[in-house]
Symmetry: C2
Subunit: 371 residues, 2 copies
């Protein structure tokens, strides 16, 4: 079991990562340590575990039992799975449950699930009684390597994703790599897109370990040791970036590598055709092309990235029905647009990127059309 | 014009307090400095002023004009006056306005109004795009001396006040004492209850200045100099307490002096009969009696407090239809109850209080019945 400390000025916390594979069944993994881990943090007596029915069916009992054995009084609140439930109405129902069970300021909301459950639980925790304790038990690769670090919580507005939210740090993140066994392969690959991103923007060694692997397209063929590395180094990379920029004022923007065009493509396909990680994969390929076109990045490194994305079973091509003109239009209306200027994160070498607002529509167009 | 800096580990900000009385009409007061003050903080270009129709009618133009002259692009969002609109539905409408006008992360929400507008604007600012800039222009005495320091924002849940919210600090608080001219006298007195509280819990000198005044029951008979002192020293007192305890984990609890029983009485009269400050006044008298009963406080100091409350035109007696048994029952269900123990803030001398969970129902009952 390894631990990463996310150092923040006021709200540092640990990510506890259990062993992958080997003899360890899920039951004997670190999920059964949840109660003891939380006990050591001097949290209050009451815990509200928030999950979706499917995930709770797999892992609810072991978490609840662990918490009860450690002396916590445990309540549960289930939200149907899926992005369509990620709205304020679902949060209001969490409030109602918290009220009915008299949760106090010292109580804890535990998110047991993927990104949607984590984002919603975090936002509910941030806003109930002006903030109760928050603990994350991510069950998707994306939630492990992305949502578990950074403190981003929130829900969707009818007109845009994650427009309503707060920065709110957990007290603990507990990761059991073996729960990924129940994750659909498409979701696994989507998480891998973010892992590849950390390699490009921050961690050359992680990138090289990924390159060295023969196949990354599903969990079963990844060596347990590599899976642990993937999770640990991704969390470490994000933790390092976030520690230096908690509120997303500067450096943290590099985490949006691949997201500028990725978001545009997600939006243009109505969030129906691609999952987020797939859009990010396509966005990284696009950003790579722009960087190469601008002479910032060597073409052969760009190819290494694209091959790695392909090896992971992720898409690299913009869906045929999306035009480059649509992308240009959509990019301009992104919520991260600052004073009208579109910011791009572009690689200069593996493990290093720059933030620039010098990418013109012409360059994007030429790079994506391969002119 | 005086300035107080609220020192916090990450989010320090200034309270700019204008001159009271004299030749200064409202128009020539510091409201017209709002734009320049905000300009100095390097906030983004777009500003959403949130107010209620009545307040905006008085002070909206001068604020908007000042902002526009300083180069800001200004939008407004009005919420009908009153606590009944302090709910998530009103916040959703703020989100819609923010979306329609494309407010960005660097944009600013300005609260122009009393406590309800301030709490709601702060919560909307805390949760739109995971936090935009927040500036307060409080127009009630209570909002000036209480809500402008401490970062408490939020809305009501159908079953309880302020259950939904966040701690979120403003970038600036701008106070013009002269706007109190349009504040109903009952609201003015309610604000004075909190001022008296600061005297008891923290600032003996403020208390003595209040004692020295002949009459405090309405704004018109208070000398401009004393009004400035009242606002400045109250903000200072709260800023000192909050600076030492931003997230209400310890010391900050002393700000709840008078609130334990005050809240219970508010709740038992369905928030209809008394305004908050009146309930706090009654709660301070009750807490004083308990402190005297327990031998913690001298009876003559308790009487000084009670006389001051009376001189301010505030009630001191528990409403006849509220029984002491009801109060005991309600106090136990207060959201600030920690691990089942009721915390009381009790004076030991003017300017000093202790936090204790040693107050038994018997003591409360005896003190309030005068046994």
């Amino acid at each position: 079991m390894s631990r990463i400390t996310v150092n923040l000025p006021q709200n540092s916390y640990d990510i506890a990562i259990g062993e992958a594979g080997g003899q360890s069944s899920i039951a004997s993994g670190n999920l059964s340590q949840l109660g003891l881990e939380m006990q050591q943090l001097n949290l209050g007596k009451k815990v509200l575990v928030i999950s979706n029915p499917e995930i709770f069916n797999y892992y609810g009992d072991i978490c609840v039992k662990s918490l009860e054995q450690a002396g916590f009084e445990v309540f549960t609140h289930l939200i149907p799975a899926g992005e369509t439930y990620k709205h304020l109405g679902s949060i209001q129902q969490v409030y109602d449950t918290a009220l009915n069970h008299h949760l106090e300021r010292s109580s804890t909301f535990v998110a047991l699930g993927g990104g949607v459950i984590g984002d919603m639980t975090g936002f509910a925790a941030a806003t109930w009684l002006r903030g109760v304790n928050f603990v994350q038990v991510p069950t998707s690769l994306l939630a492990m390597v992305d949502a578990s670090v950074g403190g981003k919580t929130g829900v969707n507005h009818p007109k845009g994703k994650n427009l309503i939210g707060a920065f709110y740090q957990p007290k603990l993140v507990l990761i059991n790599p073996n729960v990924l066994k129940t994750l659909p392969v498409r979701e696994f690959r989507a998480g891998m897109a973010e892992v590849i991103k950390y390699g490009i923007i921050w961690d050359k060694d992680l990138f090289e370990q990924l390159i060295a692997a023969e196949d990354l397209s599903c969990l079963e063929i990844i060596a347990p040791q590599l899976l642990e590395t993937i999770i640990t180094r991704s969390c470490q990379a994000k933790a390092e970036v976030v520690s230096k920029d908690e509120k997303e004022s500067g450096l943290r923007a590099i985490l949006n590598y691949g997201h500028t065009i990725g978001h545009a493509i997600e939006s243009l396909t109505n969030y129906e055709q691609l999952v987020h990680g797939e859009a990010v994969a396509i966005g990284m390929v696009a950003a790579g092309k722009i960087a190469v076109k601008m002479g910032l990045w060597k073409a052969d490194e760009g190819k290494l990235q694209d091959d790695l994305i392909t090896k992971t079973g992720l898409p690299t091509a913009i869906p045929p029905q999306v035009t480059i003109e649509d992308i240009l239009e959509t990019v301009k209306s992104d919520k991260k647009v600052k004073a009208g200027k579109v910011r791009f994160i572009l690689p200069t070498q593996i493990g290093n990127v720059i933030i620039t607002d010098q990418v013109t529509p012409e360059i994007i167009s030429q790079a994506l059309k391969g002119n």
